[in-house]
Symmetry: D2
Subunit: 371 residues, 4 copies
């Protein structure tokens, strides 16, 4: 069968989806309306692609057992989302070639349409794990307010489906390395963290460059940190942090994320660490895009009031900070250790984290290695 580029890409239809509203308006064709349409349409195509990747990743994780071979696909898909986010951010520079005056030429025709209404983007947020309660409400309206029919159904259903946050949390929870018999990792680790935090506290307490205000403010902050550190081993403290919205994952998932970060170079952990890093990238990528979007909106419409309930710039800035799907990853760094302070893993565990083709004890005692 002969396939033509033009037909394969369905260009007759794709390139016939740009019908401007301005030509039939009193002002006539607003030249920049085409840009507005094309930029938003490319965003929607990217959103579709991101959903395609996220759905695949969630499906692979949403199983009682995830084979290690899945990590190759999962990480590749997330790395792709990160590249798409770079393009999404670059597209804002394109949209900003439109001046506020040129936007005014057709702004009224769109009322009350607004970028606030992309169903696909809300789906992306839900798939990642942004919860309804993480969203800034706008004038009391729910984030689904402007959706109707099928679109509303799809978005509401996605609230109840497994998110990437949840399936990764459950996968982390099942990590088997954390509690081998005779292996008291958390005691050793907890001591090392406390040593580090206490050392930091001493530095602060004796730092002659700090003003008194700074010092007392920072020493106060240490108390919170100590309490959070306790949550690593005390289930009740962890639950309280969850209730306060400071943690989202179960305690054991958070522990696994700490463990994976510390021992990321062990063969059996390298891909798991890459996953955590990519999730942080994706989360930060959307936050970063939201900030750029907020700045662009502010430049385009200033503090002008939207006419259609569209989201103003200050709303967008607040939402940028709220719409994180993986807040636990942001909390991790507080509980990490320098490489030199990291407790050694017991020999038997190191052995488990190696490949079968590797000699159990590694190169020193071993025979030929793969590379």
């Amino acid at each position: 069968m002969t396939v033509y580029y033009h037909d394969y890409l369905e260009l007759d239809r794709l390139l016939d989806c740009q019908h401007l509203a301005s030509p039939s308006s009193p002002g006539g064709v607003a030249h920049d309306e085409m840009l507005f349409v094309v930029v938003h349409q490319t965003y929607e195509l990217w959103f579709k692609q991101i959903l395609w990747e996220l759905d695949d990743v969630i499906a692979r994780f949403d199983a009682p057992v995830v084979d290690e071979s899945e990590m190759a696909w999962v990480n590749d898909r997330l790395a792709r989302v990160v590249e798409i986010q770079r393009v999404m951010i670059a597209q804002i520079d394109v949209l900003e070639t439109m001046t506020p005056m040129d936007f005014l030429d057709f702004r009224d025709l769109l009322s009350p349409a607004s970028g606030f209404q992309s169903m696909q983007f809300r789906l992306i947020e839900n798939r990642l794990g942004v919860r309804p309660e993480d969203r800034v409400t706008f004038g009391g309206a729910r984030y689904t307010e402007r959706l109707a029919g099928d679109q509303l159904d799809v978005v509401l259903r996605s609230e109840t489906e497994s998110s990437l946050h949840d399936v990764v949390g459950r996968w982390l929870e099942r990590t088997p390395f954390l509690d081998g018999e005779q292996y008291d990792f958390w005691t050793t680790y907890g001591r090392a963290v406390r040593d580090m935090l206490e050392h930091d506290r001493t530095v602060v307490a004796t730092n002659p460059n700090l003003t008194d205000d700074e010092r007392s403010q920072q020493l106060g902050a240490f108390e919170q940190t100590f309490r959070q550190q306790e949550a690593l081993v005390d289930p009740a403290t962890h639950d309280r942090l969850v209730a306060e919205g400071v943690r989202r994952w179960p305690q054991r998932s958070f522990q696994a994320a700490v463990f994976i970060s510390l021992y990321r170079h062990e063969p059996g952990i390298q891909q798991a660490y890459r996953l955590l890093a990519l999730l942080a990238d994706v989360d930060e990528g959307f936050t970063s895009w939201r900030y750029r979007h907020a700045l662009m909106t502010q430049r385009m419409i200033g503090r002008r009031v939207g006419t259609g309930g569209s989201a103003g710039a200050s709303y967008l800035t607040r939402q940028a900070e709220r719409g994180r799907a993986f807040p636990d990853l942001m909390a991790l760094p507080t509980f990490l250790l320098p490489n030199r302070a990291r407790p050694d893993l017991p020999h038997a565990l190191v052995r488990q984290l190696r490949f079968r083709f590797q000699t159990p004890d590694g190169p020193p005692e071993g025979g030929p290695e793969p590379g």
Copy 2:
């Protein structure tokens, strides 16, 4: 004379400015410390370049009369700053290849050094026009707290020198087109803006898609907008906005900025408009970089308390929103008009805005045109 690349760029010295602190520490060489040093040093080189450009632009504007030929140089320098800002933002992706654990390997050695302390960046902010009162204080400390000696002097002196904000404001204030005799621009324009705002208010009042909360919130916002619009013509209202920190430029400068935005295609105004657009780009570029910087810091140190009075992530986020040098430019869009609603300029003024080589009345009546 023979000049060698290596000598010309002073590479013997430049490449001998990277002395890591970690090799002499108990943990030994922290591989990623080199990245930390190199990234910050490239930032400092870019800061030097940006100051080089800003100083030149300010010097050209800081004169009783600015010849129109200066606009070519001024706009080129600002466009260069915008390109440098893109690189500055891309560099964050490089720094983020360092993991929080790798940072911990040498973080303590730097205490209390922090990016918070770049003298050059503070100079850039002051040159642009960020005022001490626009800065978020950190634990009560002034932004100059960690500077000493010559560096402190330089920064304090820059507070008193002409900033880009100020020299552009004075240049705008001298714009001669705004008050020709018999030319009542502000009356015509004011009517057009009020028409637009009232039309918007009606749309809001009758929009069935708005919730009651949204509607009343937005109608309330219109009252503020009407008051701000009054400030365009009423000096007392303008002065009150200045006192409240909502405006910074003199009324006449703000008027000139509105005028320039509306008639940006007139030959005599094209470069002035490009200047305003570039100032908005530069301002937004630094804000955008600060947001990315805040996100990166959060990822690297989490909510961990800095040991040296270094600025945490939440401080950085707040400063990103505060450190705008040109807030008036952000306020502009509210008072602009679509191209079709723009009042016609009087014939005599249009004539003044043309080149001498153009026939006074333009193509229709005129003879041969230059191109």
Copy 3:
């Protein structure tokens, strides 16, 4: 009327243009086929936008007289194309997240479809001014070989329509400043250029760091340069360069481009210079994209033979170098002068290049200036 985001952007149709070929193939769904489709569709949307901008620019220039106010619009549209090109290049990074193996999963289904076949991109090239003879032929086939029906008609017609290259060439040709009476610019300028070239030749002849081979090779090259410089004033020499494909614009257009580059800071010339710089940006942007496209293709299919007459990587590399629309702009730098060596313009001409609102002789003698 109420307009919804979803309807306005025609998302029902837009997001229904991605029908993969792989699901009905023996191998089943090829996950990455969606990426392939979406990336190419976003390119086609950007192509549509670029054509929208180029058509507008050409229409504004394709007139016997171009009012100076047009320059604002023209330059803004071209600056937008440059931003779109940045996104186009960034999208290659997205496509490269697909591995060669994943591409193989659906490559056969597309045969003989290939990116070689985008009608819109050929239109862009023709609109810019790439001529059929500038194209690398592929196996003897014309670049229109794979087009049919309406698409073929549109592309063939565009070969005969005014290109951006042509309309700008004609606009430059009409530049009125070049030959005022008593104004012998070309004599003065020609002397300055010859001085510079002869100085360079002496440096080369006496440079002790050059090998004999290098020296003789470079001295030979100077002879060519002197001949090209002659073409600036001698019509017959210029015509010979045109016949050889070394120049495309008429002599007078090339002269105007030199003049505009040298006196780019004069008020009446600033926007014309910006136009030339943007044309060089656009030309270089597409060349740069073609190179990246060639590298990506090489990585994806190696030196594998295409099955559908699709263009291999080496073809793409050659085309990247050939498909320049504005070769004269690349030739310009050879004939430019440092700012200090630039001949002064006669007083009367400087006056013509000023705005009417400026005092004829500029600030020194003049009264209040506009800013």
Copy 4:
């Protein structure tokens, strides 16, 4: 000890390495010379960082046995180089804000300095594995021609040291999976590749859309491909390709690269595949940067003859294509298979490629899995 940002970064010295040549020249300060210096200095800082990363990676691989835990560090360092390359390319946009005229203001003062002379960049190329014979000679001069003293020594020595190309080649050569007893991978694989190539040949032979010229050209190309495919199993054919410069790695290394690409999802192979992908990224990144550099040079100096033996644009374009360190990676795609055509690995080998903590036979038969 108190460490200050300013002292730690050695800013007093770093920011005192920019001494312009123009202020003492007849033309006075050339404003853009600062940009020229700063851009090149930031490049040199990035080069230092890249060498820091490459040296570390080579040291880790340059051992008889490479433990699998090294892959985490190695891949992270190479991923960092890729991010630095993005910044290097973005910096070209900054340098291009300088006009050719502004460059002329100080170009002569640098003679014969040129970017051609960066010792560090030559070191990078040698470290990667670019050989002297891969370099385009310039007027007969060797690439070390303009170096002297210590710098020459360092570069010459690097020619004899282990390059990344070589140590990775040796590591690949030691891959143990390729020839298990009773495991006749290459027979099965060879058959699958030949089937694919023959299928492609039939498509070409019967494709009605090809012109006769295209068809015969492509069928001819298939003969070459079949011969190259033979080289995968026949040592003599492989050696001939090496002699012709079409291959660089030993046959067994090339085989390993094919194997790794095909089975990249197996746990024991995921990081090895990531390594190959990153090497291709790095190689392509430098090629891409060289192309952009060539385009920038052409724009800045046109076809003007350099005065100091500096490399012209056409030289740079040719070098961009030549300076590949990993040509074998570019040849790989020809010999890959779609996922569905990939031969199954024997059970015992799959088992070897799993972690010890995994049950030998994977999820279906196995017990609880790690996540």
